[in-house]
Symmetry: C2
Subunit: 341 residues, 2 copies
DNA sequence: ACCGGTATGGTTACCGGTAACCTTAACGGC
DNA sequence: GCCGTTAAGGTTACCGGTAACCATACCGGT
């Protein structure tokens, strides 16, 4: 039983089958000018011999690689898996292959990866921008040749399309929820170095004010470094005084979870004595001892939209897709306690 | 001020500079037969014009792409970010570009991605196997042409090299820790569908037995589906009886965290009345109200080793690198309480 | 003046596919 | 019998780089 040598190239295969490379090509590409019988025979042999074309060579000739590059800082970010899933799905639906490049928060690496992606000839790039903007120049440069879209975060000088979730609206939703529950002594604990935090706070505050409730300055802290935890001092300021809020809004679930814990440490019951709201809709936040009320985002859809925009080719300049977050009410919020002062 | 057209190909560039493509090539490749002056001039122009070669074309000619593909189920898995970081670093140290392909736990997608990676001509593949083995045939097939290494998990029929952490040793370390603390009423709560869980339990049990302590069958549960949480029934069985263990070992931090919570729900103090051990060294486990004692793994090193093995080309058949885990003692374990029975 | 060697650079073919174009045989119509 | 048409397939050039080989100028030595 002689083992047939595996054909490596389309030419090997053609020789093996006694036809020309073009005929093989017609069989695999669905192009006409080949008899159904011949096509069937060739496809069967390809299957049997487990041959696959060299995608790089095809891409070189066609000027198209059916490939989508995704550039992110780090896959640990809680919402990235779902965004990637969205991108993947939209890409595969159009027969594209999507892959992820990680830059670990280093601008030089991000730039290098962007250039590599372009050099590899990807048909589009989806970027989740987290760097201060050190890569924006490169990004704009690449944008001129390769469709590129940013997701989740608006970058000041980036000239390409963006897919965002309306963070101001998210803040408003949080405010409405607390207003309906009758709260009027309300605080905020956010990040000092994350633009998202500020936008969410702004929407939150606006909605409160429109309803005649003010966000108390003495209970409005934006002191935490993103990725860090609030200090005990911050928690004391919010929860330690005789005078304290009945509800606190945080622009992330992580922060909210810490506030809940800080409240517990100080003997405050959540939600009976204190309502706490998070943001993001992280899955783990539903599994906490006190499941968090939060504002959720359509993560998979962000990815899908981004992929679609990138692949639709209409380089119609800077467009911005704005998706809507929604409220997920769980156990960390409750009607405001009767004022006891 | 006329805007100079950007050269797209090496030929455009050569024409623009009044030299041949070969001279440009010599400048960028570091090959000899070019004067330092000419090289400097060309490199300067390349910089100025922001030209980069087409990597696909280069790869086609050289039969090498300086690219490494990583295939994983889902980037949400807690330890993947660090493994990816390790792979990335090792790859970049050798001027390779590493990227990640996600199959979302679907065998058909995994197979398709593996084939795509090979078709793209990657120089190596790092795979984190989570599927039941449906992709192993494809994997072995691809292995014949492209160096491939599996990480973290041993797959029965996979014929290529593997980088593993010694889970049995991890179990033994956990056992030793509890033995030193004087525990002899010990339980286990693990997964029923994860081989890792079983191996860790085995090592744990072996080390206990060698020291004359038995892992009580009535407190040894492997009932949880991986990814799920233990049922209240399971927790009751471990913690609810009058007769109960003084220490419990879990093969993951997630599980251990739930046990700690279950203990709190039942009025048991951790670690005074119950010691709980986790596994994985997840960062968040240090931030819990009771920081978890756990067995940590050299995650970045796993990635580095895998990348090195793949890139070192020595296709010396099935080799297996075994790395060692270590114990991280935190607050969830303490000396065994005085027996009160 | 001629030769060989070196320094520098150009030419050609090729990697593995595909687009554009060319070839052949069979058939039908008049 | 001749021509046009079509079905089915083959040939050639090309995508953008690079390996292998070729060409020229200039040098010192005899």
């Amino acid at each position: 039983m002689e083992q047939q040598a595996k054909p490596r190239t389309i030419e090997d295969l053609a020789t093996l089958l006694g036809v020309s490379t073009m005929t093989v090509h017609r069989a695999i590409s669905g192009k006409p000018d080949i008899s159904p019988k011949t096509r069937a025979r060739i496809l069967a042999e390809i299957e049997r011999l487990d041959w696959r074309p060299n995608i790089a060579a095809r891409g070189l000739r066609q000027g198209k690689t059916f490939t989508l590059g995704i550039l992110v800082s780090n896959v640990a970010a809680s919402f990235l898996p779902e965004i990637l899933q969205g991108v993947n799905q939209a890409a595969e639906a159009k027969n594209y292959h999507a892959f992820v490049s990680v830059h670990e928060h280093e601008a030089s690496r991000a730039i290098r990866h962007l250039q590599t992606l372009q050099s590899k000839g990807v048909d589009g790039i989806v970027h989740y921008p987290t760097l201060g903007g050190g890569e924006v120049a490169t990004l704009n440069d690449i944008l001129r040749n390769t469709p590129t879209v940013a997701v989740m975060r608006a970058v000041p000088d980036f000239e390409g399309p963006v897919v965002l979730v309306d963070d101001a609206l998210g803040g408003r939703l949080a405010a409405q929820h607390l207003l309906v529950l009758g709260h009027d002594r309300i605080g905020f604990l956010g990040y000092h170095d994350a633009d998202l935090s500020e936008v969410r706070r702004q929407g939150f505050e606006d909605a409160l004010r429109e309803n005649g409730v003010s966000l108390r300055p003495e209970w409005t802290l934006a002191t935490v470094a993103s990725g860090a935890s609030p200090s005990e001092r911050d928690l004391d300021r919010l929860l330690g005084g005789a005078e304290r809020p009945t509800a606190i809004f945080c622009p992330s679930d992580r922060l909210a979870a810490r506030v809940v814990q800080g409240a517990a440490d100080r003997g405050l019951r959540v939600p009976e004595e204190l309502s706490v709201m998070g943001y993001n809709g992280d899955a783990w936040a539903a599994l906490l001892p006190v499941p968090l009320t939060t504002v959720a985002q359509p993560r998979a859809e962000i990815g899908e939209r981004a992929a679609q925009m990138v692949l639709e080719e209409r380089t119609s300049g800077r467009s911005c897709t704005l998706l809507e977050p929604w409220l997920v009410a769980r156990a960390s919020t409750a009607p405001a306690p009767i004022a006891t002062r």
